[in-house]
Amino acid sequence: MKRILIAAVLLASFVTSIDAATLEDKVVEHTMKNGMKLLMVERHTSPTVSAWIRFRVGSVDERSDERGIAHLLEHMLFKGTTTLGTKDYAAEKPILDEIEGVAHALMAEKARRGKDNTAAITALEKQLSTLEAAASKLVIKDEFFELYSKNGGTGYNAFTSRDGTTYLISLPANKLELWAAIESDRLQNAVLREFYTERSVVMEERRRSYDADPESKLWETFVASSYLAHPYGQPTIGWMSDIENLTRTKAEQFLHSYYAPNNAIIAVVGDIDATATIALVERYFGSIKPGKEPAPVTADEPKQAGERRIELIAEAEPTVMIGFHKPSIAAPDDYVFDVISMILGSGRTSRFYKKLVIEKQIATDIGAFDAPGHRYPNMFVISANPRAPHTTKEIEEAVQAELDLLKTAPVAERDLQRILNKIEYEEARRMGTNGGLARNLTEYEATTGSWRYMSEHRGKIAKVTPADIMRVATTYFTRENRTVGFITKKGGDK
C-alpha cells in the first residue's frame, strides 16, 4: 500500500514538472550590447501587452544625504523630456536653472535655524513661486500620461522599494511602439521640471502613508530600529527633513549614476511576437550608451546581540511586530525560511492561525513575511493584532512558543507536501496575467540575478528537510536576534 502511495506521489510530481518547464519554454531572453536585459512571454489571451522596466536601484543605494531621492526621482521621471511635456525647452531651461539657484538659497536660509531670517525666507519663497509660475507656462502637464491614456494605456505607474524602481504600463498590443518611444526618451532625455512642487506632493504622500497612519508609523520605526548600519533601515520615502532638503541637482546626479541600460531589466508580456519585439526594443533602446556599473552596498549590519523593543504611543488599538534578522533571498537558509513562513503564516491551516486566532482567540489576524527588501540580508517578520482584552505580550509569548516548537519537533511530511502543492498551484496561476508575470520576471531577475529563480524554486523547497527547519529555527529565532515593535494606546481604554 505504501509503495503505491509513493508511486502516486512520484507520478504527480512528474506531471507537474511538465508545467514547471512551461515557464522555461515561454520566456524569451535577449541581452542587448549595452547590457539591457529583455525578457518576453507571448500570451495571446487578449490583444493587450504589459511592459515593465525595472532599474536595479532603490532606496538602499542612497547615501545619508540622499534619503528619499530614489522615490522622489521616480515621481520626477513622469514630468517629461526635452521634447515631451514642454512647449519650448530652450525657453524653459534657463528658468529651471534659476529656480534651482533660488531653491538652494532658500534651503540654506532655512537651515540657519533660530536666526532672525524670516523676511529673507519669505522673499525667497516669493521669488521661487514667481519663477515656478513662469516655468509652468511652458509645461505641457503630464504629457506622458496623456499620450498613454489617449491610446488606451492603463495602469501607468511606477514604484520604488528598497531594492529597485519599476515603471509599468499596459497597452493595446498594437501600441507597443508608443511605449518604446516614450520610455527610451525618458531614459535618455528626462527633464526634472516642476521639482519643488512635486517634492511637496511627496511630503503629502509621507503624511498620508506614515505620519497619520499609526500602524505604518510603527512599521517605519520598527524597521529603522532594526538596522544600525545597513541602509535597509531607512524609509524609502525618506524622513520629513530628508525630503525637505532634496534638490533637483541631487536627483539628477542620482539619475545619471543609476539609470543606464546596463542597470535595467525590461519585461514585455502579452500579445506580442518576440522577434519583432526584440527588433523594436533594439531600435529604440539599442543606441543608448551603457553607464558605469553601480557599486553594491558595502555596509554589513552588525550581528544583533540583544532584544530591541520599540514602543509607539498612538491614538490606536495595540498591534505588534516581531522580527528576526535572516539571510537574503536565494541564500540556502532563505528557502528554509520560505517553508517556515508558509507553515506558520499561510492560510487557515497555518500554525499561527490555528493556535492564536482559532484556539486561543488572542489575535484577530496574524501573518509572517520577509522585509524590508530582498537583495541584502533582511528580516523574517510576524505581525499581529491582539483581540482585547488580550495583550501584545500574550501574542509575543504565544508566537515564541510556536517558534520554539519548530526547534524541537520535526515538521510532518504532510505539512511539507501541502506547501509544495500550494507552490505548484501558484506556479500555474502566476502565468495567468501579463502584469503579474512581468512583475515577477523583473523582480526576480533583479533581486536574484535570474528569473529562473521562479522555475527552480519548487525544486529547492522540495529539498528542505524537517532537520533543516529545526536547525534554522534554532539558529535564528533567538532572543538576541529579536526586535519587537508595538503600539500602546494613548491614555489606555477609557
Binding site: 489571451t45 491614456s149 498594437n174 511602439e177 512642487t197 492560510g347 487557515r348 483581540r387 501541502r418
Partner: protein
C-alpha cells in the same frame, strides 16, 4: 592586453551608436500611427442547468486551473438595522463554520492540501461564493463549494469567533483617519437607508445562530443564483458534474425578495468633523448620484474622468500637480447598479492647507456646472474610454463573471456591445447638463477628520459644524 580589449570594445560601441543615430527611424509619440487592431468582445456561453440555475461558461486552456463563482441575490440591505452585521456574518461563517457535516478544520485541511480555495462573502447587494482549483482537484473542490453555498453548518464556535473579531474591529474602527472618513461620508449620504447602516456592538451582539440559518435559507436557493465557470474544463463533463451537484429540487416556498426602497434624494448640505491628533486632514465630500438605468451614465462617466477620475483630471491637475497640496485627490461617481449610487470627492492635505484645498475642490467642481469642458478634455476622456475598453476582458474569469453580473443586475441587452458607441456619442453639452443635474456642491455632505486647531480657515466659516465623538464607547462584556 586586457585594457586594450576594453578600449576596443568601447570604441566599437560608440561607432555603432553613430551609425544608428544617422539611421534614425524613430517615431514621434505625438503623431505616431499604429497598425489596426479590431477588438472583439470574447463570447461566453449561457447554459441553464436541469435545476434551473443559469451558468456562464468560458473555456480557456492556457492554465490548468478552473475558476467558478456563484452570485446570489442577497445583501446587507436585507438585514434589519438592529442586527446590522448579520449578512457579513452569514457570508463569512458559511465558509468558516463547516458544511454538510464536514468540520471547519477538516475542510480547511482538505482544501489547502489541494491548494484549492473556496471563499464566501456578502456585500451590500450581492452574495458570492468563489472557487479556484487546479483542474485535477476540481471535482472534489466543487463538492465543497456546493456544500458551502447550500449546506453550511454555522458552527456555534465559529459564529462566536466571528462575533469577537467583529467586536475587535469595531474597537479599531477609529484608528485610521481615512477609514473613519470613508465610513462617515457613506453614513451621511445614505442616512435613513439600509446602505447607511453600520454594525455596532449592540447589533452584532443581538445576532443569534438561528438568524444566520434563517437568513441563509431564505436567500441561498437554487432559484436565486447565477453561476459562472472559466478555465480548463471539458464542457460535456463539466455540465454533467454541475447537473449532478446541483440537483433539481422542488422549493417548498416561493422566493420572495423583500422590497427595499431607493434612498431619498435630500440635497441638504452638512459639515461633519472628527478630531484626530494628526498632521494631515482627511476630506470627503459628496451626495447621492445615479443608477445604471439612467440614460445619462455615459455623459457621467466622461464627466467623472475629466473632473477627478484620472491623473490629468481637473482635481488632480490643480490640487496635486500645480499646487502640491496633496498626494491623492480625485472624485468618483459610483454608478449604482441596484440602488442610487454616490458622488464622492476626496483628498488628504496637511492641516495648514485644509481650507485652501476645500475651497479649490469646491471651485473646480462648481466650474464644471457652469461651463462646458474643452474639446481637448472631451477628446482625451473619450479616447481613453474607448481604447482601454479591451482591458475589461483580459482574463477568462473576469469575462464570465462580468456576463453573469450583467444578468444579475439586469443590464439591458447589448450594454457591452454598444458601450463604446454610447461613449462616442456624448457631447460637451451632454456633459454640462449631466454636471448640472448630478453635481450640487451646496448640498455636499462634508466630512473632515483632523486637527481643526491647525487649519488655515476655520470649518465654522462654511456653516454650522457637527462634531462626532471618535471615542469608541466599548460596552462592558
Amino acid at each position: 592586453m586586457r585594457a586594450l580589449l576594453v578600449f576596443l570594445c568601447v570604441l566599437v560601441t560608440v561607432m555603432l551608436q553613430g551609425c544608428c543615430v544617422v539611421n534614425q527611424r524613430l517615431a514621434d509619440p505625438r503623431t505616431m500611427k499604429f497598425p489596426e487592431l479590431n477588438f472583439k468582445i470574447p463570447s461566453t456561453e449561457r447554459v441553464v442547468l436541469e435545476c434551473g440555475i443559469p451558468v456562464y461558461l468560458l473555456r480557456d486552456t492556457e492554465l490548468p486551473i478552473i475558476n467558478m463563482s456563484a452570485m446570489v441575490r442577497v445583501g446587507s440591505v436585507y438585514e434589519p438595522a438592529a442586527k446590522a452585521g448579520l449578512s457579513g456574518m452569514v457570508g463569512s461563517v458559511m465558509r468558516s463554520g463547516g458544511a454538510a457535516g464536514t468540520a471547519s478544520e477538516t475542510m480547511d485541511d482538505e482544501l489547502e492540501f489541494m491548494a484549492s480555495a473556496v471563499e464566501s462573502g456578502i456585500g451590500s447587494d450581492m452574495g458570492t461564493v468563489s472557487l479556484t482549483a487546479l483542474k485535477k482537484n476540481f471535482s472534489r473542490t466543487l463538492q465543497i463549494f456546493s456544500d458551502v453555498l447550500l449546506r453550511p453548518d454555522f458552527s456555534e464556535k465559529r459564529i462566536e469567533i466571528f462575533r469577537r473579531q467583529t467586536i475587535e474591529s469595531l474597537r479599531r474602527q477609529n484608528d485610521d483617519p481615512k477609514e473613519i472618513a470613508g465610513r462617515e461620508i457613506n453614513r451621511a449620504i445614505y442616512a435613513g437607508h439600509p446602505l447607511g447602516d453600520i454594525t455596532t456592538f449592540e447589533s452584532i451582539n443581538a445576532i443569534k445562530r438561528q438568524d444566520l440559518v434563517d437568513f441563509h435559507q431564505r436567500f441561498y436557493r437554487q432559484d436565486n443564483m447565477i453561476l459562472s465557470v472559466s478555465g480548463d474544463f471539458d464542457r460535456t463533463a463539466l455540465l454533467k458534474e454541475l447537473n449532478s451537484v446541483f440537483k433539481a429540487t422542488t422549493q417548498s416556498t416561493t422566493l420572495v425578495l423583500p422590497e427595499v426602497p431607493q434612498p431619498q434624494q435630500r440635497f441638504q448640505g452638512e459639515i461633519l468633523y472628527g478630531k484626530k491628533d494628526v498632521n494631515q486632514t482627511v476630506i470627503r465630500m459628496g451626495h447621492l448620484g445615479l443608477t445604471k438605468d439612467s440614460p445619462d451614465i455615459y455623459a457621467v462617466r466622461l464627466l467623472d474622468y475629466i473632473l477627478g477620475g484620472s491623473f490629468t483630471s481637473r482635481l488632480t491637475m490643480e490640487i496635486r500637480t500645480n499646487q502640491g497640496l496633496a498626494y491623492s485627490v480625485g472624485s468618483h461617481f459610483d454608478i449604482g447598479r441596484r440602488f442610487t449610487g454616490s458622488f464622492i470627492a476626496e483628498t488628504e492635505t496637511k492641516a495648514e492647507s485644509t481650507g485652501k484645498a476645500l475651497n479649490l475642490m469646491n471651485k473646480i467642481i462648481t466650474d464644471l456646472t457652469k461651463e462646458q469642458v474643452t474639446d481637448a478634455e472631451l477628446y482625451a476622456a473619450r479616447e481613453y474610454m474607448i481604447n482601454s475598453f479591451m482591458f475589461g476582458f483580459t482574463n477568462p474569469a473576469s469575462i464570465v463573471n462580468q456576463r453573469a453580473r450583467l444578468e444579475y443586475y439586469r443590464y439591458p441587452d447589448g450594454y457591452l456591445e454598444q458601450y463604446r458607441d454610447n461613449i462616442a456619442k456624448v457631447t460637451k453639452k451632454d456633459i454640462l447638463e449631466a454636471a448640472q443635474k448630478y453635481l450640487h456642491p451646496d448640498a455636499f455632505k462634508l466630512v473632515v477628520i483632523g486637527d481643526a486647531a491647525k487649519f488655515d480657515l476655520p470649518l465654522t466659516s462654511r456653516g454650522s459644524v457637527r462634531e462626532f465623538d471618535l471615542k469608541v464607547n466599548i460596552p462592558k462584556p
